[in-house]
């Protein structure tokens, strides 16, 4: 037989051996990372009647809940994960099991079977100051009740800052669990919502608040 030419040899080498199950290998990495405590931010998609949510948590609690994209108001999933990597920790991994409790509570909420969330919140993505105080005030609004942006501004210590209260709600990192959908305009209008005004109205309807 003639010696192989370089081209023949290179062609054979490009036909690399196959084998190894990537899916299983990735699962193995995740399991080991969880066991060794190397996952700082675990995230998972969660189905909802409004579309796919993305929920992320740290050891302290839920740090981010991204609503389905609505007319460019929401970040893409990639942008949400990039922000988590930048502002919380780059050790971000998809780990659905770590979010079982969050998923269960959200499902119950959407089915009308749950009127509060027991999962803890991690406020890491909320800067201190007015915005933080405003969102803490929002977190205390009971199920089925509403407040106005002016009321939230007052509770946050600056009654005239109702626009800033609106901005704080607009940048809420953990909607639904921190229920900014319960904050309305003073005139009674539902106002803006990251997931769209239709979603806000549907949530208020679910809670019997309209």
């Amino acid at each position: 037989m003639n010696p192989l030419s370089d081209r023949q040899l290179e062609k054979m080498l490009r036909n690399a051996p196959t084998g190894g199950d990537l899916d299983r290998a990735v699962k193995g990495v995740l399991a080991r990372a969880e066991r060794d405590g190397l996952v700082d931010v675990a995230y998972a998609p969660v189905d909802s009647p409004f579309g796919k949510l993305l929920v992320a948590r740290t050891d302290r609690g839920v740090v981010r809940l991204a609503l389905p994209k609505h007319r460019g108001h929401q970040q893409t999933e990639d942008e949400v994960l990039e922000d988590l990597a930048r502002y919380v920790s780059p050790r971000v991994l998809e780990s659905p099991q770590r979010l079982d409790e969050e998923r269960r509570e959200l499902e119950e909420y959407f089915e009308g079977k749950r009127d509060h969330f027991d999962v803890p919140v991690d406020w890491e993505l909320t800067p201190p100051g007015f915005r933080n105080r405003a969102l803490h005030a929002v977190a205390r609004i009971p199920y089925g009740e509403t407040r106005t942006y002016a009321q939230i501004a007052k509770q946050a210590g600056n009654p005239r800052a109702f626009r800033a209260a609106g901005t704080a709600c607009g940048r809420n990192a953990i909607p639904l669990i921190v229920p900014c959908h319960r904050v309305l305009q003073s005139g009674g209008g539902v106002g803006n919502y990251g997931g769209g005004p239709e979603m806000k109205r549907a949530l208020l309807d679910l809670e019997g608040a309209l």
Partner: protein
């Protein structure tokens, strides 16, 4: 950390996992590739926060994979060819679906058996060049060597392989 922030670690698995596994299958064999893949990514995850920039993450991961593959071969003893590995690499090639027009396909098992007997640097360079289709500049980064050394390793590896089939 610099302005160039690191992507979420999941993106490394999603974007580069396939290349890393392909490289490991060709260097340590399909049976052990998943274990070494795990070692590779866990080591990467431990070192990740200390990285100063997000450039060349692909090469960075393959460097770790290359080192883990060498550790693996060392751990398997000083035999240059762990027989099981070569058999498995060869077997997996034989069972992969070669297109009928690839007349050389039938010889692949012998070829990959021969690849697994190359010295570690030549083996890695040849696999990176052909199995994962990396340019020499990237191979140099992944193997922490010069581009000239990468070319030399590939060239010498090819020469040895051609010798096997002369």
């Amino acid at each position: 950390m610099s302005n160039e922030s690191l992507p979420p670690f999941q993106a490394l698995l999603d974007e580069h996992g396939s290349d890393v596994l392909g490289y490991l299958v060709a260097t340590v064999g399909p049976h052990d590739a998943e274990d070494v893949f795990q070692e590779t990514f866990i080591a990467a995850l431990r070192a990740y926060e200390g990285l100063e920039h997000a450039r060349n993450l692909h090469s960075w991961l393959l460097t770790i994979a290359h080192n883990k593959a060498i550790d693996h071969h060392r751990a398997r003893g000083r035999r240059a060819v762990p027989a099981g590995d070569a058999e498995e690499v060869a077997g997996s090639v034989a069972s992969s679906n070669s297109r009928p027009d690839e007349v050389v396909g039938g010889r692949d098992p012998e070829l990959w058996r021969a690849v697994s007997t190359l010295p570690p640097k030549q083996r890695s360079a040849v696999v990176l060049r052909y199995a994962t289709d990396m340019p020499y500049s990237k191979i140099a980064q992944a193997m922490d060597s010069s581009e000239a050394a990468a070319r030399r390793n590939v060239h010498e590896g090819l020469q040895k392989l051609r010798g096997e089939f002369a």
